[in-house]
Amino acid sequence: MNGTLRRKVISALFVGACALAVVAALVPLAFILFFVASQGLQAISLEFFTGTPKPVGEPGGGMANAIVGTLMLVGLAALFALPIGIMTGIYLSEYSGGRFSSAVRFATDTLNGVPSIVIGVFAYGVAVLPFRQFSALAGGMALGIMMIPIIARTTEELLLLVPGAMREGALALGASRARAVFTVIVPAALPGIVTGVVLALARVAGETAPLLFTSFNNRFFSTSLTEPVSSITVQVFTYAISPYEDWHRQAWAGALVLVTIVFVCSLLARLATARVARIRD
């Protein structure tokens, strides 16, 4: 009897410890969101979205150039990553057996684990060094390489969820494999794939390390693909490590914009996948 009681107490303590672990992770999350929201809201203004950086000492100014820069970089990354990512996902789901598929799957997971700073160094070597010029293209390429494995894997997973009967039906009607994939299977999984792409875009929009020496930074408004371009993340970094109060405020405002992007995208993704799951049930 005493033994049973002891076992029950241990069990209850263990359950309590697990619940405590959840709290331990949520406390920093609450702290971070609280500080970003409170500091960011104090600092953000309309000028933040329309102005360009002011020199030290002059209050105000904004990140319009960095916001446009981030949009450009993310757009370039998508152009670079979508074809490779989606086609790889299609290949892996259609021809999932075989040694080549296993190798590619392994490469996908490996690329996903490569530190972003290393991808930055690689992009510097192939897209900056030969031209002796930091550029938006180089930054977009670095972000694109980070996106590829995420998109490939999401696409593969979602295509595998499409019921086999749909594929068989299309093939039985005489469709070629390509036709079955592009007119039946991919459309069936499209909402999920779009969600995955949005999440991948949000993730690379928050990357700093691969941009430090590829797209570099630019105090001025630039939409040239072959010039250095500013980005929200690099601008926040520059401001954060500066000694000036005004700049710190700008950094918090930038952080608020980044967190808002991430939060909205995650929420949309969650709603979209919840709906897809309900339809499937």
Partner: protein
């Protein structure tokens, strides 16, 4: 394979994209080796034994960076692992079902916050907090090498804490996926034998041990390569010190900080060599952990090829 099949063209063209993906991984290794050749041939293995990092006189020793990377990552792992496993167990084994979705969403949000935001928060909130903690550290503890040095706030302890916060959602997501692959008969069997919750979960964890180790290692791989948040709080001072209070440096941080300042080729090549080794280390760690998780999931199953 039927060579005249109309599907062959499709397979080859889709395969070409898949090949491009694999080629990028190889190209990263080749390019980093090529761009660090000067440093590799000039210093050889001494590069990793020397702790002299003096770009002005052309002395490049990378020991402090390796040390800082391993130290911060192991310390983060020590803090993060129990918390991450606790969360994974709570969500997959204990939580009432209405709580599960919000908890998953919140931990995913923790993983999605950009590392620059963690860094910003680290500089202005975490570092001052750590400094006050260091101020009240009792004198007898300060005698130990682990807690020696002035209370700066900036340093190894702040870096380890922020890394831990960042690694937790990652490890717990993978561990959760691993726990999901454990057959329900394991739980039912344990309960049928009269096990308490703790004993049933212990049985589940034992069944899933390979995958759990894989999840922990994946988290470790993440910590090794984390750049921005760490460089903003660790102090960026290349020294080999056992103290949690001392400002140190990591491989990723030195690349981020000094890359655009590298005036001569040898300096640049030395930095890229650090990148190359970081690449190889994370490659090995990731490959090993994937192998463990795949073994657990029964060979390439997608269930446990969990979130990024």
């Amino acid at each position: 394979m039927n060579l005249r099949s109309p599907d062959l063209g499709f397979r080859l063209s889709a395969g070409a994209f898949a090949l491009a993906l694999a080629a990028i991984v190889v190209a990263i290794g080749v390019e980093l080796t090529r761009q660090s050749w000067l440093s590799i041939t000039e210093f050889g293995f001494d590069f990793w034994r020397s702790s002299e990092w003096d770009p002005v006189s052309g002395e490049f020793g990378a020991l402090p960076f390796i040390w800082g990377t391993l130290y911060s990552s192991f310390a983060a792992l020590l803090i993060a692992t129990p918390v991450a496993l606790g969360i994974a167990i709570f969500i997959s084994e204990l939580s009432p079902s209405w709580l599960r979705t919000p908890l998953v969403f919140l931990t995913e949000l923790l993983a999605a916050i950009p590392s620059i935001v963690y860094g910003l928060w680290g500089i202005f909130v975490l570092v001052p907090a750590v400094r006050s903690l260091q101020m009240v550290t009792p004198e007898f503890l300060r005698q130990l090498p682990l807690f020696s040095g002035p209370p700066l706030g900036i340093g190894m302890l702040s870096a380890a804490l922020i890394l831990a916060i960042m690694v937790v959602p990652f490890t717990s997501a993978v561990a959760r996926e691993v726990l999901r692959t454990v057959p329900n008969t394991q739980r039912e069997g344990a309960y049928a034998l009269g096990a308490t919750r703790f004993e049933a979960i212990r049985a589940v964890m034992f069944y899933a041990r390979t995958g759990i180790v894989g999840a922990i290692m994946l988290g470790f791989g993440r910590a090794l390569g984390e750049t921005m948040a760490v460089t903003m709080v660790i102090g960026n001072n290349p020294q080999v010190s056992a103290s949690l209070f001392s400002p140190q440096h990591t491989m990723a941080a030195v690349i981020a900080n000094e890359f655009t300042e590298a005036a001569d080729d040898l300096y640049l090549h030395a930095l890229i060599e650090i990148g190359l080794v970081l690449f190889v280390i994370t490659l090995v760690v990731n490959a090993l952990s994937r192998l463990l998780i795949w073994t657990m999931a029964g060979g390439g199953g997608t269930a446990a090829r969990a979130k990024a």
